[in-house]
């Protein structure tokens, strides 16, 4: 308070010795730069555990990491096409597409809105050729039915009375693209005399290394 200001001017209100330095000593110099990013350590860290168990778990960890990249759960976004549409596009089916999922989850355990078309891997079964002719006739009806289902599907996002119908239609719809894709692939494959790698347009070559390549490549 105001009372004691004149007398005992250099008295502090607490015990100065407790601070760790005397009255006359200079204060420790203030820091002029931010503290270093990797300050020198006074004590070295203890070495890691070693042993068979540790090595085995290390190998397991690396294996898990490598194999999880190959599982269908590793999702890669489809590359957006920056070029013009090319003839070889219809022969290239190895790229992941955004609108289909590579594995088939149990849709009954997930909310309906997450349902996506399950991607069927290309099958090279040659014995399916004789099945083509009856499929051509059925294809037109399937296309009409598919259009109808797509229309209906837009309307029934939130209504619950049509849940069962939707389920039935989805089951039908899932089988249709399978038939369509098989048919398309076999017909196309029969038309060409070239192996699939002929249609490799070199898109993958150097696609990953475009960090600083703003200039055109000569």
């Amino acid at each position: 308070m105001a009372g004691n200001r004149g007398r005992g001017r250099s008295q502090f209100t607490f015990n100065v010795d407790a601070l760790g330095f005397g009255r006359g000593d200079s204060l420790p110099s203030s820091a002029q730069t931010p503290s270093p990013l990797f300050p020198p350590m006074q004590f070295r860290p203890v070495p890691l555990h070693t042993g068979e168990e540790v090595d085995y778990m290390l190998a397991l960890k690396q294996e898990l990491r490598a194999s999880s990249k190959n599982l269908p759960f590793h999702i890669k976004a489809a590359r957006t096409k920056t070029d013009v549409a090319r003839y070889s596009d219809k022969y290239q089916n190895g790229e992941p597409k955004n609108n289909c999922i590579e594995w088939s989850p149990d849709w009954s355990r997930m909310p309906k809105e997450l349902c996506i078309k399950v991607r069927k891997t290309r099958k090279t079964a040659i014995g399916a050729r004789p099945q083509l002719t009856p499929k051509v006739a059925a294809k037109k009806e399937e296309v009409l039915q598919k259009l109808e289902t797509l229309e209906k599907r837009e309307e029934e996002q939130h209504s619950e009375e049509e849940e069962d119908e939707e389920k039935k239609k989805k089951n039908d719809e899932e089988e249709e693209p399978d038939a369509d894709e098989d048919y398309d692939e076999e017909e196309l494959e029969d038309e060409t005399d070239y192996i699939m790698s002929y249609f490799d347009n070199g898109e993958d070559f150097g696609a990953d290394s475009d960090d600083n390549m703003d200039e055109a490549v000569y």
Binding site: F73, I75, I116, A125, H158
Partner: protein
């Protein structure tokens, strides 16, 4: 969710599932609960990619959905279960435990189910049998029944459990109007379901198939098609199994206690505690503070026959265990030769305390550790008392205390003598609170693992060109050897990697191994601290 946990979850998701799932996952963790449309709009990703990511996360049990704020009629809302993502760090430990308990078959079963999130029993058995057959010598194959028995043993000891059914699955096919979607707030444990550990009856006979080269590819395709249609007749459609992480964690906790006892006392005491824990496995609930009381007679009978100790020696060991200051074992009565319990929560608290002390010792030196231990024991001490009890000179004691204070490992408590908190008339007491300090250390551990992962990614990225080159050369070598090339060609190919490059590769591998190994070791500390913190919270 703390910032460090979110960062670590993001790195783990990216490592296992790619950038898309990482983006979706971290955004959902930060936002809490979101609908599908909101999530797609905020992450600016195409809707299909968001749907796929949510499917992946739900398959692995990391994301759950429920009726939104507008009730069952409104859009579904999703939220992330963060601890499941953090469990991904511990997958190698789970797999190794399964291997040590149930052999290679058990190991592969757990590995398959961990990688795929949830699987039916029949598909697991088939995949594991095929994998085992692949590794067996030519002509032999793995029978399904062996895999089924390993699976049953895992389920009996509760290491695997059924995935909980959704409430909507219970609605009858007559199409009721009110779909009973599970509410977001209600949390159903898988163990609430009475058939959690019941094995389904499946009609599965056969042997594992060896994967042949591409000549038989078509036969395989036809067989695979046939197998798919067979699946629906197996009898266990819709029954999915997942790994019971809580059971694994209880096993790890028991292991930690037994190791601690063996290290502190001796091997025989460790065996006695192991016997006690084994006997009370089924009778103790997951959150119990101590096991059921066991009489000394029972313990004596249950000891493994290889430990031929006499009855009075056992009594002496038990007395030693009870008197030990770590308080692992307690005596609750005298009937039956003495009733003993294992104090689980007390043991966890002591193990966590030992971890904290060891961290202070390794970071700040043994004298700071002595001050830290002193404060843990004596609760509140003034500066002068600290200097006296720790037998450390005053100036150094001040220095160490201030360092610990700046790292937040030690706190200052003010006790005023007068209401105006004048510094000369206030007691300043130093104190250590174990629980907040453990939480602090846990966050530091998460940060550490995040840093380790980032460093590993950086190292890999720096040497990407070299790694790709070495992979290509290995592939060339493998194909040359398969087609039977001469030794000259092989050496020619090998020389494509120069000696300094080889050295660089070697040191890169060494670094990555070290970083991976460190992650595993930090995870052990994380497990201990997490168990301790969870044990202090009241069970839900």
């Amino acid at each position: 969710m703390t910032a460090q946990e979110v960062r670590l979850c993001g790195l783990l998701l990216q490592e296992h599932f790619g950038d898309v799932v990482e983006k979706v996952g971290t955004h959902l963790i930060r936002s809490g609960v979101l609908t599908l449309r909101a999530l797609a709009h905020e992450t600016k990703l195409p809707l299909d990619l968001v749907k796929k990511s949510l499917c992946v996360l739900m398959q692995h049990g990391m994301c759950a959905f429920g009726a939104g704020r507008r009730g069952p009629a409104g859009p579904v809302e999703y939220h992330i279960i963060c601890e499941r993502i953090l469990h991904m760090l511990r997958y190698p430990r789970y797999i190794y435990t399964a291997k040590s308990l149930y052999g290679d078959t058990g190991e592969l079963i757990v590995e398959e189910i961990l990688q795929r999130g949830q699987m039916t029993m029949s598909s697991t058995v088939k995949t594991v049998a095929d994998r085992l057959t692949h590794n067996m010598p030519e002509g032999q194959s793995m029978d399904y029944s062996e895999v089924v028995s390993a699976f049953s043993r895992l389920v009996e000891t509760h290491f695997l459990q059924r995935c909980p059914p959704l409430a909507s699955a219970e609605s009858s096919s007559s199409g009721e109007v009110n779909t009973p979607l599970p509410a977001v707030t209600k949390h159903t444990e898988p163990e609430d379901h009475p058939e959690c550990y019941k094995l389904p009856y499946i009609n599965l006979t056969g042997q594992g198939k060896r994967r042949r080269s591409s000549e038989d590819g078509e036969a395989e395709q036809r067989a695979a098609k046939k197998a798919k249609t067979d699946n629906s007749e197996r009898g266990d459609e819709g029954i999915y199994w997942q790994v019971n992480f809580q059971r694994f964690h209880l096993h790890f906790r028991d292991q930690a206690i037994i190791n601690a006892v063996s290290c502190k006392l001796d091997q025989t005491s460790g065996e006695i505690v192991r016997t006690m824990l084994r006997m009370s496995e089924v009778t103790t609930s997951a959150h119990a503070a101590f096991t059921q009381a066991l009489s000394a007679n029972e313990i004596f009978r249950a000891l493994p026959s290889s430990y031929n100790i006499a009855r009075p020696i056992l009594d002496q060991y038990l007395t030693l265990l009870v008197d030990d200051p770590m308080e692992f074992v307690g005596k609750t009565g005298d009937s039956g030769g003495g009733m003993y319990v294992v104090n689980l929560h007390r043991a966890l608290a002591n193990l966590a305390r030992a971890t904290l002390e060891s961290v202070v010792q390794e970071r700040f030196g043994s004298r700071s550790a002595r001050i830290f231990r002193l404060l843990l024991r004596k609760r509140h001490l003034e500066q002068k008392q600290v200097e006296d009890f720790a037998m450390v000179p005053a100036k150094e004691a001040k220095d160490m205390l201030y360092t610990l204070l700046s790292e937040n490992l030690v706190q200052l408590q003010e006790i005023p003598k007068t209401p105006d908190y004048a510094p000369s008339r206030t007691f300043y007491l130093y104190t250590v609170n174990q629980l907040p300090t453990a939480r602090l250390l846990l966050q530091r551990c998460y940060k550490t693992v995040g840093n380790l992962i980032e460093r590993r990614l950086y190292e890999t990225k720096e040497n990407k060109r070299l790694l790709e080159k070495s992979q290509r050369i290995e592939a060339i070598l493998a194909s040359l050897q398969a087609t039977g090339a001469e030794a000259e060609q092989l050496t020619e190919v090998e020389e494509m990697i120069t000696a300094p490059e080889r050295q660089q590769l070697e040191s890169l591998r060494h670094h990555i191994n070290k970083l991976d190994s460190s992650e595993n070791q930090v995870d052990e500390t994380i497990f201990l601290l997490e168990s301790y913190i969870n044990s202090t919270q009241a069970p839900r």
